[in-house]
Symmetry: C2
Subunit: 248 residues, 2 copies
C-alpha cells in the first residue's frame, strides 16, 4: 500500500537554513528502507538563497517589450528571461520557457507566491538533482537511513487544464520504470509502457498537503520498489531532448 503524509510544523525557510535538520526533526517516526521524501522546491530554493528581489532587477529591452505585450511586471519578466534557455511561447500573459536545466514550464519556474516577502521571487534550484543528492546524503547522516528524495514543482501541461506536481530533482530513486519489451499478464509485449515514476510520486505527494498551509515536505512509504541504493540518474532523465520533441 502506498501512503503519503505531510510533515507537520516546518517553519518558514530562509537562506542558509539547515533544511535536512529541520526535516529530520519533524519525521513522525524513524525512516525505514524504501521511504521517499517529496519536497516542494520552494523550501530548497529558499534555503539555497535562490531568490531575487525585484527591486534590484533592471529589465532589459526584451523584458520591457514582453512585459508591455503581456501585462506583466518587466522586472519579473527579466528574471524569467535570466532563468531561460529559450522562450517557446509568449501569449495570454504566460511565457512558456525552457529553463537552463531543460525543463519546459510557465515562467521558467519563477514564482512570487509563497515567497514570504513582497517583491521577492523564488527561482528553481540551480541544480535540483544535486540539491536532492545533498539532501539525501545529509538525511542519511542525521537519521541513519537514506530515503529517496524528490524535489517538485507544479507544471501546467499542454492540452490539459490545471497543474500537476512533477519531479525537477531526485536522488536514490529510479525516475523512470521501463516495461518496454517486457510482457504483461497475458504474455503480450508491453510496447509503450515507460512510466514516469518520479512524476507520479510528485503528484501523489501533492494530494497529501494543503496548498495554503506550510506543508512543503511529504513522506511517502510503500514505494520501496522504486528506491535504489545509489543516487541514480536524477530528474534530468525525465527531460525529453529537443531532437526527440514534437511540440516546440
Amino acid at each position: 500500500m502506498l501512503r503519503a503524509a505531510a510533515l507537520q510544523g516546518l517553519p518558514e525557510i530562509g537562506p542558509g537554513d539547515d533544511l535536512p535538520a529541520l526535516i529530520a526533526d519533524r519525521l513522525p517516526a524513524k525512516l525505514t528502507a524504501g521511504d521517499v521524501l517529496v519536497v516542494a522546491h520552494k523550501v530548497v530554493s529558499k534555503a539555497e538563497g535562490r531568490v531575487r528581489a525585484l527591486g534590484s532587477v533592471t529589465p532589459g529591452p526584451r523584458a520591457l517589450e514582453l512585459a508591455a505585450e503581456h501585462g506583466k511586471d518587466p522586472r519579473h519578466v527579466q528574471v524569467v528571461l535570466d532563468e531561460s534557455r529559450s522562450v517557446l511561447r509568449a501569449t495570454r500573459g504566460v511565457l512558456i520557457c525552457e529553463t537552463h536545466h531543460g525543463f519546459v514550464c510557465a515562467n521558467a519556474g519563477v514564482d512570487a507566491s509563497n515567497a514570504g516577502a513582497a517583491e521577492l521571487v523564488v527561482l528553481l534550484p540551480a541544480d535540483p538533482d544535486s540539491s536532492a543528492r545533498a539532501l539525501r546524503a545529509r538525511l542519511g547522516e542525521l537519521t541513519g537511513e537514506s530515503p529517496g528524495i524528490i524535489i517538485t514543482d507544479s507544471f501546467g501541461r499542454a492540452w490539459r487544464h490545471g497543474q500537476c506536481d512533477v519531479a525537477i530533482g531526485c536522488a536514490g530513486l529510479a525516475p523512470l520504470e521501463d516495461w518496454r519489451g517486457r510482457t504483461d499478464a497475458d504474455g503480450r509485449l508491453l510496447r509503450a509502457t515507460w512510466v514516469a515514476i518520479a512524476d507520479e510520486l510528485a503528484a501523489a505527494a501533492d494530494l497529501a498537503r494543503a496548498k495554503d498551509a506550510m506543508e512543503p515536505v511529504v513522506l511517502v512509504s510503500g514505494a520501496g520498489r522504486y528506491v535504489i541504493e545509489d543516487d541514480g540518474a536524477g530528474a534530468l532523465a525525465l527531460i525529453r531532448p529537443e531532437r526527440e520533441d514534437l511540440f516546440r
Copy 2:
C-alpha cells in the same frame, strides 16, 4: 494521510461482465465516505465491448500511407484514425491524436497491450465520464456508499519522458481544485495554482499496482476533500480547448 492499494483477484474482464459487482466483491472493507476508486480504462472498455478485432478492419488509403511511413500495422492505424478527430503529429512511429472526446494522446488511446487475445485492440470508452457515472451509481447500489470514480489511461507528455496515468473519466469528484485568487499562508495571492486533482489521483493510484499483474482497480482513501455529492463536471473539464491551447 493518502492511501492507495490495488484490489486483488479481479478476473480477466470481457464484454458484458458486471464490472461493478466484480469490484464490489473484492473491496477489502466497507467503502467509507471520501473513498475513491481509480479504474484503468481497459477493464471498463472491455466490459463495454469497446474492442475491435483487427481481422475485421479494412484500412483506407490514409491508414495505408501512414502505416507505410511509420512502420505500423495499417489496420491498427485505421482504428486509430477512426477514434481520432485529428492527428496532431505523425512521426517516429507515433501518431499523436486528438480523440473524439478531445483528449490528446498517442494512437488515440488505441492499445494492443493487455487485450487478452491476439489481434484485438482496446479502445477508450466512448464516453468515459458516463462510464464513471454509471460505475459510481451501481457501486452505490451495491455497497450503500458512492465512491468517487476515476477512469484512467497512461498518457505521454510533451517535453518529458515516460507516461503518467491521467483521468479520462470521473464522477463524484472535483477534477480540478482552484486556488487562483485565494491566498497562501503568508496572505499572498496564489496566482497560477489550479490543481488537476483527478490527474494527480490517477498518478498516485498507478504507483499502487504492478503493470504485469491483473490490478486494474485501486482504492484511494484519505482524499475525501476532493469527493463531492453529485457527479460533477467529469474529466472533460480537464481538456484545454483548442482555442486556449498553445501546442497544436
